[in-house]
Amino acid sequence: MTPSLFLFYAASALTLGGGMGVVATRNVVYAALSLLASLMGVAGIYLVLFAEFLALVQVLIYGGAIVIVVLFALMLTRLRELGGPMEHRQWPLALVGALGLFAVLAAAIARTGVPQGLERMGPPVAKVGASLFSQWAVPFEAASVLLLVALIGAIVLARPGGRD
């Protein structure tokens, strides 16, 4: 087994194990920690693919900010151990949704050709920036507008009297 293959399996195990932990554990804080492990595993996979920039963004945004905000929200709510298994009447709907997402992702992955013999798949960070601001400028700006709307929405909701 080559070192990179070993790293890939380790990162995948971390991702899948963390994902299992998120849904299997009864303690919400442990679930958030499993989420962190899973997201770090994804960063590891990016690293195996030589996409260092993506890996670091994954650590900064998901590992740092998102998990911290999740923990923050969990601690502001009343924490108690969840007793029985979570039964919900919507589970068939959730199953359809999850399988549909899986099908879309699997189809997308199957159709995307894997470039063979490429030592470095991820372009250097300068190229990422250049293509983001030229070829992909419109989607980039659209994403920025979406985030801005979410930001303003959060402020409006959190303002005193905003809920009335």
């Binding site: 650590v59 740092g64 900010a65 998990v67 911290i68 923990l71 923050f72 960070v125």
Partner: protein, 371 residues
């Protein structure tokens, strides 16, 4: 990787750990001495020459103290939280160069690597507070999450504006770009933003909101004692040193300015001297300023530092895009810095917005709505 390379890396990491412990002991002595002099005291004098061995004695005392675990604590998380705080602040040192050749691994995206990993200790702080099963620890960890996530934004934005000038994230390249002009002269605003937000990230006075001992009695670390508490203490000083060394490398020219030394060890001395200078400024801030209130902390971060950090990127963009001479960036940066200083001064000196009665009436109205 061969066995020899692996052994070499392990030796380097061990040497790094030893060096960091020595640095932390020196910083503790320096801080106690500096604070004492600010207050017209002598500071530690008994153990060794001018108290030089006092930190060693303190460390030994901490290590032999009993390590308590509260009955209601979540043991696994309680034990692992110090590790989750320590590991990220240790691994960033892998790519920090102390002279042109003195670096373990010079990563192409070294600066971004440091910024990305410096956010992870917050998870450890939050877990430390939660697993202690103590309300003060909990409040402290909530405060730490809010504070550190908020002040991460100005840090990242200041770094973005800085790397626009040399167009590189490689720390060695950034320092080599300052042979004639250090970036502190090009971006005084960036220096101020990075230093202030850095002090807040480390949680030093006036930003020590989350372990404010008179409010939340030590924050996330209330229940920690002995060796585990000393890990948090160690991390605080390591992070202070990281902020110092980053300011020295990014803004003060590292080993290249003002005189370019021939020998590598001279450059190393340059960087270390500049770092201790920046750290002394941070001690000076601590000796001078009182602690901010929580709402002051948040409004200072979000209403002043965040907008300024975006403005910093915009003026650097103008400078780069139109290829203006360097002094225009200095002027724009200084103008923004003065504007910010004026805004703070006006806010500090204006009369209170509401009398005590008005505020009380507002609080009553709020409680009525909640009920």
């Amino acid at each position: 990787m061969t066995v020899r390379e692996a052994l070499l890396l392990a030796g380097q990491l061990l040497g790094l750990l030893t060096a960091l412990v020595v640095v932390v002991l020196s910083l503790i002595w320096l801080e106690r001495k500096a604070l004492a002099r600010f207050q017209n005291r002598m500071g530690p004098m008994r153990v060794g020459f001018h108290g030089l061995l006092q930190p060693v004695a303190d460390a030994l005392k901490l290590l032999v103290k009993e390590d308590l675990v509260p009955t209601w604590a979540d043991r696994a998380l309680f034990w692992s939280a110090p590790l989750m705080v320590f590991v990220p602040s240790f691994v960033v040192w892998v790519t920090i160069p102390l002279a042109k050749e003195v670096v373990i691994r010079n990563l192409e995206m070294g600066l971004f690597y440091i910024v990305a990993f410096s956010i992870l200790p917050v998870v450890g702080l939050v877990l430390a507070g939660w697993s202690s099963a103590n309300k003060y620890a909990m409040l402290g960890s909530l405060r730490s999450a809010a504070q550190l996530v908020s002040y991460e934004i100005p840090i990242v934005m200041a770094v973005i504006a800085l790397v626009m000038v040399p167009e590189s994230l490689n720390l060695v390249t950034i320092v080599e770009g300052q042979r004639t002009v250090p970036y502190a002269a090009l971006q005084p605003l960036g220096l101020a933003l990075f230093l202030l937000a850095g002090v807040a990230e480390v949680g030093r006075t006036p930003f020590d909101i989350y372990f404010a001992e008179s409010e939340v009695v030590g924050g996330p670390f209330v229940e920690y004692s002995g060796a585990h508490w000393s890990v948090f203490f160690l991390v605080e000083y390591i992070n202070t040193f990281v902020v110092g060394v980053l300011v020295a490398l990014l803004f003060l020219g590292g080993w290249t300015f003002p005189l370019v030394p021939e020998a590598a060890w001279l450059g190393f001395l340059w960087v270390v001297a500049k770092t201790y200078l920046v750290v002394l400024v941070m001690f000076w801030l601590r000796g001078t300023l009182p602690r901010l209130r929580v709402d002051q902390l948040m409004s200072f971060g979000w209403q002043l530092l965040v907008p300024l950090s975006f403005a910093n990127i915009v003026i650097t963009g103008f400078y780069k895009f139109y290829r203006w001479p360097g002094w225009t960036l200095t002027l724009m940066s200084l103008a923004l810095l003065l504007l910010a200083g004026w805004l703070v001064y006006r806010r500090q000196t204006r009369p209170a917005a509401a009398t005590a009665e008005e505020m009380l009436a507002r609080a009553r109205a709020y409680r009525r709505r909640e009920a």
